[in-house]
């Protein structure tokens, strides 16, 4: 059984088989962690819409310009442990709903320890699934308050 699974995985990798939706989500996070901007962008549909802690990026270009760099910085500085995942949808439209335990340390030494809730919608385009929607939120009220303040006060880096 293990051999069959390994052969299936090997053939998928060897012959470039398209990723399933959950793998696309994981690949996006890996690209951020690896500081690979082009790889992260390549997984996004040109019709992307992002809801992120009360902020809206109405286009993929807006997300790429405004928030992807910050998301990359956070991905590099933190550890995201997948806790739950539910995949759904059918045909060309799929969903991947995940929760992560995010831990790390902020610039000033304060610890990061929160639950991140992530909704990802994907659409098949050609032979590949691409992300058409992200929605991130968290259970941490202090984080949400900081996000609200920063949205109205702070300049971008």
């Amino acid at each position: 059984m293990r051999l069959a699974w390994a052969l299936a995985l090997w053939s998928a990798l060897a012959f470039g088989q398209a990723r399933v939706p959950a793998e696309v989500v994981d690949a996006f996070h890996a690209a951020l962690r690896n500081k690979d901007t082009a790889a992260a962008l390549s997984l996004l549909d040109r019709g992307l819409l992002v809801f992120e802690f009360g902020a809206v990026d109405p286009t993929v270009e807006a997300y790429a310009f405004r928030h992807l760099p910050f998301d990359m910085d956070v991905a590099v500085a933190t550890r995201w442990k997948l806790e739950t995942r539910r995949v759904g949808g059918e045909g060309n439209d799929r969903s991947v709903l995940s929760t992560y335990r995010v831990t790390g340390t902020q610039s000033d030494g304060r610890p990061i320890d929160l639950t991140m809730l992530e909704t990802v919608l994907l659409r098949r385009s050609g032979d590949a699934f691409r992300i058409v929607h992200f929605h991130w939120s968290t259970d941490d009220p202090a984080f949400l308050e900081r996000a609200r303040k920063q949205r109205s006060q702070e300049p971008a880096r």
Binding site: T37, L41, E52, S107, R151
Partner: protein, 126 residues
């Protein structure tokens, strides 16, 4: 084409836009600068374009000569969206990319890009 929405983003200024994972205050993972194409460079004899002029977003002083040499340029909009190039050099805001990643043909005035102080890992994408 989503240029109007992107223009709105740029017109609003990045200052009004910050939120998201960045509510976590972490160190930058690398130096980066954003910019917008203002003019395309002259094509070579075979029509290949390897340079362009730009303006910085948000506005900032011009880059020092060859400050960006070896940096990674990634297009964030337009026909070459998600394509990465290695900067061969720069004179102020005129940016020249090397030939290894192919020419820039397809980029257009107003396309937005990011410059990051990191090498391109070409093997990883082949």
């Amino acid at each position: 084409m989503k240029v109007p929405a992107l223009f709105l983003v740029l017109a609003l200024g990045a200052g009004a836009a910050r939120a998201g994972h960045d509510a976590i205050d972490v160190d930058r993972s690398m130096k980066r600068h954003a910019g917008q194409v203002t003019a395309l460079g002259e094509p070579d004899g075979e029509g290949r374009i390897y340079s362009f002029r730009a303006r910085r977003l948000p506005a900032a002083p011009d880059f020092v000569a060859n400050e960006l040499r070896g940096w990674r340029l990634t297009m964030l909009a337009g026909q070459r969206f998600a394509q990465a190039f290695e900067v061969q050099g720069n004179m102020g805001l005129e940016i020249v990319v090397g030939p290894l990643d192919g020419p820039l043909n397809g980029i257009a005035v107003n396309d937005v890009f990011v410059l990051e102080e990191i090498a391109i890992e070409r093997a990883a994408r082949q």
